[in-house]
């Protein structure tokens, strides 16, 4: 009957080559986890900062989980997208991070990456946008074979999460 409450926000992103970013996010948890309330996934607005580099979304995350086991501790996976001046969106980065397992406030940076693709793809990406995307976006967080991907590092997504744990101590989980 342990409960995990994640309250926080996806603050924004920095370090991406272009502005005008938005983010699709989702939480993935194992089968022992049960969503009590809140949205498990979402998408932010597009932020195109006029000054400075960082895009701010301040997108709220408020999820309440109940769990019967520790396996499959929730992970937050992100996809950062870029909307170009023609209103087209292209992928800018995948990333994921574990939800912190200790209670309290956590400020986190989630690094992101993007598949590189072949040189032809890179070339066309340079001129016409778009880019290689994962066929199966599960790979963002499951990543067994991810090392084989040829990727480029992209920017960081900044997260601020407050973790509230309840009753974990009852089952011998210390934190």
């Amino acid at each position: 009957m342990a409960e995990l409450h994640i309250i926080g926000q996806i603050v924004g992103a920095s370090g991406f080559p272009q502005h005008s970013l938005f983010c699709k996010w989702g939480l993935h948890a194992g089968c022992a986890w049960k969503l009590l309330s809140g949205l498990r996934e979402g998408q932010t607005q597009v932020d195109n900062p006029a000054i400075k580099e960082m895009s701010y979304w301040s997108h709220p995350v408020d999820v309440h989980y109940a769990t019967k086991g520790l396996q499959g501790w929730p992970k937050l996976f992100l996809q950062v997208w870029h909307q170009d001046s023609f209103g087209r969106s292209e992928l800018y980065g995948y990333g994921f991070c574990h939800i912190p397992s200790s209670p309290g406030f956590h400020q986190m940076d989630c690094v992101t990456w993007r598949p590189l693709g072949t040189w032809q793809e890179q070339l066309s990406q340079m001129f016409v946008g778009g880019g290689p995307q994962l066929k199966h976006s599960d790979l963002i967080h499951t990543g067994a074979d991810r090392y084989r991907l040829h990727t480029v590092a992209m920017g960081k997504v900044h997260l601020q999460l407050n973790i509230i744990l309840r009753n974990f101590d009852r089952y011998g989980v210390e934190y």
Partner: protein, 1648 residues
Amino acid sequence: MASTENLRQKIKSKRKALQASLTGSSEVSDTQGLVSAEMENGTRNENATFIEDIQDEDEQAENLKQTMRAQRRRRKAPLVDDVIEFNHEESPQDITKITRRQRSLPPLGECTPSTSFAEYSMREKMREKLKAARSKAQSALQQEEESASRYPTDLGDQSSITQFDTEVDEEYAKRPRDAESPIPPPRVRFREIASRLKPKPKEGFPSTEEAYNFFTFNFDPEPEDSNEGSEVRSHPQTLHDVDQGEEEAAEEGGEESAVSKDEEKEEEGKEEDERLVNDDEEDEDDYLFIIDQTARDFLIVKAPDYEGYNNRQQRDRKVLFIPSILSVSTSEKVPENMQPRFLEDEGIYVGEKPKVSKSNQNIIENRLLKNEEGKRWFGSDGRVIALANPIKQTKTRPPIFSPHDEVDPAIETLYRKAERSRYNSQYIAGSGEPQGHFQLDIDVAGIVFSHHPMFSREHVLEAKLAQLYDQYQLRQQKNLANLYTDKLCALRKAVNNIAEGQGVQNPMALHRLVEYKSEIRATRRMCHLEQERDRTLLKNIIKVWKDIKSLREFQKFTNTPVKLHLRRQEANRKADELSYEHEIQAEIAELLEDYQEVYDSKLEEYKIKYEEWKSWRKARKAKKKQKRVAGEQQDDDTDESLTAEELPKPDPPEPVDPSVVEEQVRETAARIYRKPGEPLLYPELSMTATVTPTNQCPRGEQLRRQDVQRCTLFAKVLFNNKEVSRTSSRTLGIDFRIHFGQIFNMQIVNWPESIKIQIFQTIGTSTTKIEVFVPIPETSILTGSAPIDEMEFSSDQRVMFDHEGVGSGVAFSFEVDGSNQLILLTSGKLACSVSWAVDENGVPLVPPVLHQNYGIQSTLKHLDAISSIGATGLTDTKKLAKWAAESRLDPNDPSNAALMQLIMSATNGEEPNKDYFRLDHLQEEFNFLSEEALNKSKRFRLLQLRNDGVTEFLNYKQIPIKDSEISEKIFQEYKNKQCDRETFDLTSHLDVHRAKVAKYLQKVRDSVTSRFLLAKHHYTLPDMVIEEAVPSISMLGVNLFRLAEPRRPLRPRRKERKKVTAQNLSDGDIKLLVNIIRAYDIPIRKSMGRPALTSRSARSVSETFPTSQPPQISAESPEWCTDQVSVHPFVEVSFQRIVRQTATLVGPNPNWNEELELPFRAPNGDYSTSSLQSVTDEVFINVFDEVVYDVLEDDRERGSGVHTRTEKHWLGFVHIPFTTIYSQSRIDGTFRINIPPVLLGYSKERNLASERGWEAVRSLSDGSYLSLFITVEPHLVPGEPVIEKFESQEDEKLLQRADKFQKEVAQKFRNRRCVTTVTDLTGKMVFVTRYIKPLFPPQELLDVLPNSSEATMELLARYVSLIPFLPDSVTFAGICDLWCTSDQFLNLLAGDEEEHAVLLCNYFLALGKKAWLVIGTAIPEGPTAYVLSYDHNQYVIWNSTTGQYYGQFDAFCSLQSVSCLVSAENVWFNVQKYETVMRINFDTSKSNLWKPFFSRSFPFPGLSSVQPDELVYQHTDKAAAVELQDKIEKILKEKIMEWRPRHPTRWNRYCTSTLRQFLPKLELSHGREGGDDHCAELQSLLGDYRISGFPIHMSFSELKPVIEAVHSTGVHNTETPLAEFALAVYIHPYPNNVLSVWIYVASLVRNR
């Protein structure tokens, strides 16, 4: 020599002096010492021999010296003077020097000056010290050494001499070389020695001998390295012995001095050379001292120290060990006496050793061997022990880029173009992710006309022939007749087999026999059928061919190349006859057998029956006998029973006559079978006939051919009604075939909704169009595999020609006399195929889920059990196999082959493996708790339910943190609801039917909401961002202008307020503002005791239409004007049980102008749009009369005190649903006050009518009115109606037209609502005219007033209005308007304005009236639907929800504007300038006033109605109504008592019963009349009671509104202590469970 003697002496003395005190560095003196000692040694033996040599050497040395000097001089050029002086002064000394140089090395001396002055002084001090030390030590040493050293010298002398001889010689030989090559300076040498000294003490063999050696041999001028090493070895030992603890330097000095002393003492005589040398040295020293002033001379330029490579190498060799690279023999490596052992050969695993190069290996081996215990590094195999090579042979990390580009599917990436997200739900990608492109390939192959207007007669026949021939070929291919014949044969054989083989009657075989026989029968029937068909077909073909031939002959030319050959195959007549006869015989035999069987069974039956009959007859006879015996008494009974049981005598069945059967068989055979001997005919169609050239044809035919050549065709491809492409145009061939052969590849974005191919045919200038609809292919149909389909098409266009062409849609005949006419329409076949394209990778470009196209339908399918379950049933192979087994499919039938195969594979296939694997294994083991425990948690459940938006838990605040704090009760209701879906909650509905309806509504609502869930998630920008509009220049201008405007504070205006989105609101934020402005014509009090006059005569409909007649002026007695008790009205507004009231004014036309503020609370504190829309609360605006009673007991007190009691008497009410206010955001207008038909003690008189002109007009519409302004503060943004494109079954063209029409009119009249298509209950778009259809009302209603159509209309309006009103916005919160058909409406017994209006309109139409549906706006409903009827030259507007009606020129008509009229055939849009009812013309025939939807350009296509043919009305159960009536009465009484907690509530039974009697009368009169009569009656009955009360009338839907209505009247609020109450309820049942509820509430106060 004398000189030398002198010199020596001199030197001696000098030396003595010097030695004690000074000269040079210690090293120098050291070397001097050494050199001198050496010289001593040398000279001692060689004195004689040397002397001659010296001379030569002297010269050499002299030369050398000279050159050196010269060099020095040159270098010291600036010091020339000094040097010269020196030279002069020291010239004699030079000689001495020369002599000295004989032995010592020239550079020796020279090196001394290199010491610096500082060093020099230091050394001096040192020397002084040394001297002191030495002098001390000398005394001791001298004695020792003198005794000790004497003896060994003799011994050592012998050997040393020989030794030295050679050595010296060597020395000499070397000398010149050495002189040239830089000799290591003595200092260095000393160091070497010194360094060598150090380790020496360790070796312990100090001996005096060696010490001696040291002292003797040490003085080698240039010792050999090796010698030196060996010599010096002993040296320190001696030192040790001699003087331990002394410093080395001191020792040296000490030694030297000791040695020199020795020499002095012992070998004075021999020491000439030595002395000389010493002298020399001293001279040098002197010399140095002399040149002390010239410091430069100390500096010596030296060549850089260089050690020769070889030297170094040699030296290194001593220090370093360089292992050899030669391989070491194994024997050295293994322990002795052992053979190397190779473990690998013995079969023991030895890992492969890391690879080391051979030389390296050798080196290390060599090195290791040199080590102590070096062998332990080697293994038994003689190799260096090493771990096995740790590097794995296989690569643990596979290469990222393998040459074969096999990418793991898991990490596959896909290049996606940057795309605009233009897809929304109606486009393909439902998931929102653009999946890429989808492509449809449309192959338009060609067209074949089966009839064309330009066909000549011959063509017609040819087409027919071709068609028949095609059919023939198809049949030939199938060859069904043969198949059946074969089957028949096989079956017969099987039967024979069974019959012959089975002598024993096996029940199984018997059973099979029966089966076979029945099968034979069936097969034979089929066989005959097929054969007959074949034959007729053949006959037809031949007939048509004959026709063609005769036609060709007749017209004398040939038009078509068609030619039919009949191939004959002569048959063997005899064999034919035989088989023919055999066939017939077999058939006859079978038939006979069959008949026999039937006969047998019948006979059997007959026998049984006969037996029965016989026994019955016997019994009868026996009874008759009995009867006679028993007498007459029982006779009647038995007789009756016997007659009843009398059985007819069964007839025996007729036996079968074989001849008849044979005749039958032969007859059919003659018809079907080929006659024996008749040749077999095989028709063959060919195109070989020659067509007559055009010039040989008659004129008509020539024209036709010309026309044909002029005719061109092309095809357009339309996708979703948009032209995509078109084929090139082709000329029509003479054979009326066109080949396009074009393939169109369409990349699509939108869902394919329709694919249409339009064929355009141009003949000259005229163009005709034929449309062919092509089905959208299944997802499995891909390009390449798609067959070309032939789509038949036809056109009903009439085409007529004046030439030979037969035309289309025109009658023509082949006969000469014109009989047997034919009408052929243009028709043909379009060969085309539509398929989904396949990309180069073989991936079909098919949208992922094509059926999403029917999204709405598919969601509805979930409700439809058959479509969902049925479909899955078909895919269940097991079921299929079962079915196949049951239906006994013929496995040999080729048409069943595919099916059989499927079944075979299905049954043979293994059972699906039930084994499963578990994801997240070990999960169970690590679980904290079980799944059940988790699910049991009440807190979690509550949280989840709240999150899911379950209505009960939505907005549930603060869920307790502990399970124990949550009571199980919370879920009870929810659970009940879940399981109570089927059972009815009678307590709240009181009526089974209504409970059912409520359930049904709930279900519909559920399904509809789930459908709209997606749409609800669409947020618009204003939902998210609240942005203040930036004032534009024009706005600013207006504002500026406004500043200049004259201020008119007395004429306030309403300003537009800022809109507030619902989401950021909370309790208490929202207020309802009700501005009560004024009221007109409020009923006034009547004075008591005076009988009321019947002021209102019964009105008929005709009276209410005032245009035709002069205003009615009520004939009132003038005395009313004076003798009037006024009224003190005030208005009370109650909303959500909160009550506010205005001030009390006087008179029937009060002007309050007061604003009342009521707080609003949303249910559950949820202020979301959908929640607000579903608020069912109503605003009750009640008008009361305040009556003040004087309760003063004593008249005497009147002067001093006021003692009154006020009572409020309800006069009427207006109620406005909150949803209306919410959706309209404000309500402004004058409303009719609902005044009960009977108001005891009040009357409404139009007494002033005659006096005020305007009043007269108004008063025509009877009633009281109230002007109101209601709004919500802050301004809430009403939920946007969901604009959703629904699926529709309407014609695409019609929908487009509707769209266009709506857009057109919306441009001109923005605020007029145009309704063309509406959504029905299943969520489909339906054209609105389909709802209008004459429907008969219940006969009972028509029977009430058979002769007055007006009254009937009124009654119908009343009936319709009694059907409860339930606004759509409440039913389907946040969802658009849904229209029910009338039968649905009557079933639901709930609906909003549209349903009411449609039903009423349909009734009127059924009565034969002209009626339209009016779409417009009204107060308070807002956008609504009314009914317009036209009768007696006047238009009447009916409010279907209230049953009220208004004339067109009624000022108080609640319909404010009219925008649309709808009839069964058309929709008219109001294009007049005005839209108010009074100012518009309802003549729809004028198209400048009413824009019709269906006009001449777009005629009415004859849309069928969605309404049922007939409405079926249920008869209402009267008993149930009575029961309900009692129930309601009871509940209401309880409620009233509940509302009066502080007072006892007394019920006046007498009054109640009186009222109860009165209510039915009211119902009969529709509440119109009898009020006053009743009043009088009551008054007389209850003489001394003051009664205030009234009947309330309403339609019945639920209990809650009834209670609410009673509460809102406030009758229970009477504070009079002795008040009594009366309450009566009457329910009048109308057909179909429509109930009219009357509630009479009254309070009585006894008059004193």
